[in-house]
Assembly symmetry: C2
Homo-oligomer: 351 residues x 2
Amino acid sequence: MEKWRNNIRNIAPYVPGEQPKEKDIIKLNTNESPYPPSPGVRKAIEGFDADELRLYPDFVCSRLKGLLAKQCGAKESEVFLGNGSDEVLALCFMTFFNSKKPVLFPDITYSFYDVWCSLFDIGFKRIPLGEDLRIKKEDYFGENGGIVIANPNAPTAIYMENGDIEDIIKQNEASIIIVDEAYIDFGGKSIAPLIHKYDNLVVVRTYSKSRNLAGIRLGYAFASEPLIQALEAVKNSFNSYTVSTVSRLAAEAAAEDTEYFEMCRGKIIKTRENTVRELEKLGFETLPSSANFIFTTHKDINAEELFSYLKENKIYVRYFKKPRIDNYLRITIGTDEQMEKLLEEIRRYIK
Amino acid sequence: MEKWRNNIRNIAPYVPGEQPKEKDIIKLNTNESPYPPSPGVRKAIEGFDADELRLYPDFVCSRLKGLLAKQCGAKESEVFLGNGSDEVLALCFMTFFNSKKPVLFPDITYSFYDVWCSLFDIGFKRIPLGEDLRIKKEDYFGENGGIVIANPNAPTAIYMENGDIEDIIKQNEASIIIVDEAYIDFGGKSIAPLIHKYDNLVVVRTYSKSRNLAGIRLGYAFASEPLIQALEAVKNSFNSYTVSTVSRLAAEAAAEDTEYFEMCRGKIIKTRENTVRELEKLGFETLPSSANFIFTTHKDINAEELFSYLKENKIYVRYFKKPRIDNYLRITIGTDEQMEKLLEEIRRYIK
């Protein structure tokens, strides 16, 4: 064995959904938006002077922070930016989870949380969801080194009322509570305004879903000033310039186009409700979704086999071979046309 | 005090050079290129279909890795990409420095190295440069948990012969040796081809300097396959998609335009030599530079005062208030015109 082997880190990474190269795939596996970014984004990129790229990006991103702050009546100094919400979450874990007590999150949730805990040597405890696959707030009232709640949760798509999360915060004055709101715009109400009531609350958001901009890698967080300052210090100890110039401009343009944003999320919600109804007619039971995806199961159909059948027929959805959810499929909401093709394939499969 | 205070991390971050907003500043303080990116980059951005941004970026970046691999006769699987070379270096520190022995680097070098060590709880030892501000290879022959050499070194700009670095590698079979070649294109010869001879060598490069693309945040590394695999696993445990779609396209276009790259670095080298000669006439002593900046001192002039005078006159250079180098200025090489203005101001100051 090479002598340097013992020095290097050996770790099992997070595995993202497949990104097929073929263009004729119906891609319902990574919760991207089926709609293009706002026309303002296109304009910003077309009008961009590439000569600016010789310089480092804007270090502060004051304008973008100001636009985002407006979403929840916050100040620029209560906004943090990063290279996708995964980076924002990773930096939050590094900054806020430094006690000896375990960090708590559900057993069924975004599967990156335990990967970050392993990477940063943070102890953690998975709290089982209830029988109905919902988070039970009382399970988070004990001692802990921090709490992470995805709301709506993934891959269940189930939304938890903010009052319940507030109860968790009230019981945990000594911990930082991270609420991962990647999917909040598809049916939930953001808890972000509560950062002014609870200085230990961090709310993480992304451009990858409801802003139709997974390609720019832009995530952000709202929190009290002391938490944002701590996060900025860790970020600046890791990588000073994380948001590229073009990504910042695209994010600004998208933040300004509220009307387009409302239209897209409205369409996705409507398509989701139609899809759920049609699946029900076929015998599927779908968990109540407040996200841009659904989590669905059928008592007579093997989910893994249906997953493979759909893939062979060029429709990609997501399947997780994990206890309690191994007969569910997670299906991203596409356009009406894409969902109709999905339903057709499922009908064909059932016959 | 808030009860959550003890849980969060308190750290002193790296402080980058100032990024003034005013447009009439002559900016010679952060080692950016004075020349715009290659015309191909402009074309790639102009021709870009913003609709693509709804999707996650290319996870593998096979084409870009292939183009970069050619630089040193490597394979795609020997290339790693990141969001700027700072991120690449941060991930390298996290991946490769996990022994109990201290990591070694010079006392005068890129000031981010000790910040990363602090962030990741890595022990380190600063090895003093020689009287001539050069790295003495023999100082790196003892036991250690890893070695980092910037070549050319910063802020001295002094280049170390690859034969000397190879001697260090030979003496350190059990450590990973990182060579940070941010400035290699301005007078040095890359050590990257040696990754095929030494599987414990990592060579880190950037688009921010010689590729005129600080704004896209793109850094990369060459190393043996097992090291790249370990690095990819850590990256995928931190943030799966670090390179945005537009940044990847710009980087591909720049990598293809070898002629433009050669022209720009040729101009910078020529301007540097002129500047050094002119400064010599004024009594400055400049360390031998192989970078796109110079490190210069004058026995009768207080560097800090000259720094302030230049700043008042809208010329930004860099000053480090640190032992041994506190009477030096680090000056980025701009265009001939910018350097002439700098020299004029310095002549005025001396009178």
